[in-house]
């Protein structure tokens, strides 16, 4: 009957901050395991590698918030990354404008593919799992077709390409904060703002929370779903371009399995797959947790296959913790 009066406080603390605690624990473990971990060099590298996943995860979160799922993000990323790699040398002019056109075109094409997802789901009532599964194989197929299955290389000395690879490999003069990371921070800030401070964001969450109620409140549910998929497509293409910028090559195998990492990041961050719950910042913590797990294991030279197993276990642990926490919270 009587319980330890301190217990609810501790439990709710663990519930509220469990992913932060997990992140902190991972940082501590990493620092202890390797002297190289807590160097700016390593941290910046880690963040640079995580930038595409961060972008895709934000798009995934938008879709998950509306109660959907987007499996096509990895394939759309491949198309975005390859498209830019192919378009840069093909353009009749060079330089920053050319790059902007390429990037803009790539993102727009990603948005178009996302919009097709959105139309199938929001307009035709197709299950998002099915619609985006179809898009996943179609976009991947298109990526292979465009390149004959080969990586798309571009001349390194092309001015347009130099700006792109410079963006991918260099950073803010002085501290060296990588450009892609800076760009991701801007995108994060934008979507934190959109989700928290605009009616659109609020209604996107509401749609996932109770679609029927939102529809019966006279609001166009289809629009929030459609936009979420469209934005997810755009962000995925942008993520693919970031990959091309970092690796200086566009390949059709970019982003295989990326959708799973993005879903994992959302779920670790506490997003509900049934929709209506999840935040950008917590999803980014999820991205960091995923990245750190990989980084630790690389530092410890754990081979790639066991890494996958360990990653899966940690995802399960994270979600279990939240489940236990949520149950405890309900009792409180």
């Amino acid at each position: 009957m009587s319980t330890n009066p301190k217990a609810p406080g501790l439990v709710s603390l663990l519930v509220t901050y469990n992913i932060y605690i997990m992140l902190a624990a991972l940082v501590v473990i990493s620092t202890l395991l390797s002297e190289h971990f807590l160097t700016l060099q390593n941290l910046f590298n880690l963040l640079r590698q995580l930038a595409p996943l961060a972008l895709v995860s934000i798009g995934m979160l938008l879709v998950i918030l509306t109660g959907g799922i987007d499996l096509s993000v990895g394939s759309i990323a491949a198309i975005g990354g390859m498209g830019v790699a192919m378009a840069m040398p093909a353009l009749p002019f060079d330089g920053a404008t050319a790059l902007l056109i390429c990037v803009f075109g790539g993102v727009l094409f990603g948005a178009l593919l996302g919009a097709i997802n959105g139309a199938l789901v929001a307009g035709f009532g197709m299950a998002s799992f099915v619609a985006t599964l179809a898009m996943m194989t179609m976009a991947r197929g298109l990526a292979y077709m465009l390149s004959n299955g080969q990586p798309v290389r571009f001349p390194r000395d092309l001015p347009t390409a130099q700006i792109l690879t410079g963006f991918g490999s260099k950073g803010l003069p002085g501290i060296g904060l990588p450009w892609p990371v800076l760009a991701v921070l801007v995108v994060i800030a934008l979507f934190v703002f959109l989700l928290r401070r605009t009616n659109w964001g609020r209604l996107t969450v509401a749609t996932g929370s109770n679609e029927n109620a939102v529809r019966l409140a006279g609001l166009p549910v289809w629009r929030y779903k459609f936009l979420a998929f469209t934005l997810s497509g755009a962000l995925s293409a942008l993520a693919g371009i970031f990959v091309t910028a970092r690796t200086a090559v566009g390949t059709p195998v970019t982003g295989i399995g990326l959708e799973l990492d993005a879903i994992a990041a959302c779920v670790i961050g506490g997003a509900l797959l049934s929709g209506g719950r999840g935040t950008v910042t917590n999803t980014m913590i999820g991205v960091l947790i995923l990245g750190l797990i990989g980084n630790i294991m690389n530092l410890m030279s754990v081979p790639a296959y066991p890494q996958q197993i360990i990653k899966g276990v940690i995802i399960i642990l994270a979600v279990l913790m939240q489940g236990i926490g949520a149950r405890a919270k309900r009792r409180v």
Partner: protein, 497 residues
Amino acid sequence: MDRLDMRQIWKEFGGIAALSGAGFSARAGEVHALMGENGAGKSTLMKILAGAYSHDGGEIRIGGEPVSITNPQDAIRNGVSIIYQEFSLASDLTVAENILIETLGHGMFVNRRAMHARAAELLARMGFDDIDPGEIAGGLTIARQQVVEICKALSRDCSILVLDEPTAVLTTHETEKLFNLVRRLRDQGVCIVYISHRLDEIFSLCDRVTVLKDGATVGTWETGALDHTSLVNLMIGRELKDFFPERQITPGPVALEVDALAAGGLVSDISFTVRRGEVLGIGGLVGAGRTEVLRAIFGADPVSAGEIRIDGRPRTIRSPGDAVRAGIGLVPEDRKQQGCLLDLPILNNAMLTPVNPHLGFWGLIREARERGATEALRSRLNLKAASIDAEAGTLSGGNQQKVAIMKWLVSGCEILLLDEPTRGVDVGAKVEIYRVINELAANGAAIVMVSSEMLELIGMCDRVIVMRAGRLAGELSGEELTEEGIIELAMGRKNVH
């Protein structure tokens, strides 16, 4: 001897006592009512009996023997079955499969013919041999789904049957059939625990009443020893005459005119008008098309014919968005599924509207204005919540209903369509909702209210139109507005006009 005896049951949720020594005993072959306001502990007590919750103290005896019920299987093994308000039917399976769902797990093969025969036998035992065991459960009416639920309980030889607000979704006729069924089970020696907020039912059906208040038992009485007033007083300590607050309004100009409306195959030729300051009731049996009329006016279902005029001007309403922009708000029957965002704060619920005057450019949220407006509504509607940041799901049914209304007040809707606004809320909350309706009407709103509770229609409405089988059966007001009058129109014994 007592079939069921719950003694001194204690239950705490995070340090707050939900039950503090509640208990009662019920005999085999009796219908025992469990009464009390929402939050009095009825549901908690029944969930403990069902094994859904554990108890922190006390004892449960069944047939005189102390039993330990720690999970739902224990409850079933001890012959306890509970029919909740929300059914647990698998809506894609057949009636027979649902009734005998527990036996489906045994053995590898399903003997469909034997199953159908057994299900048909159970249905016949209850006087519902017109339900086909092969029918898909999801296609049945709510009343029939309930019968299937009860059959499912009987299939496992239950000796204690708990019915939690079974008539909330039933029509008068269906209710009578259910009562006959309950009486039949009682005569077969089943111990029935009956939970309802409808006092009439308690008096016509139950042998004894146990009243709970604030997690403890007030006492148990023979039903014959009580009347409406004394029972209500035991539950809330308030007088019956406060049930329907006085309202004195001279109706203003006509706000909504519905002319020869038809929708969805069922509803046709519906015409009525509502004035500002007026409360118009829509009575009739469940399935008569009342909800469909409201949904069609609101644009949630397509209108196939007819005209809707607002303030004298014809308006085309193709979607709920159109309706809201025309000043019409709908508060649906099912507030959990359709009315509220249970996981989100009250504030977000209040701002769930396409006409939100507090937004800035580009849909920017101006939090201070929204909070101010929500706080104002909270005190206007007397909403009981810790704060406007509390999740709607944490509120009681009556307060959730107020939250569902909030968005239309934010949008400035002056025509409100309320579908069963007091369904499943306790007496105290009903009075609160009546007060809110009166307040809205007094401020010039035109209100259309669908209700299955006749006392409510009579007590609240200026006029009542009654529907039967998708059509208008007649209109009642003044002296004619009586229970008999509504029943006669609803059942088709008489036609006014």
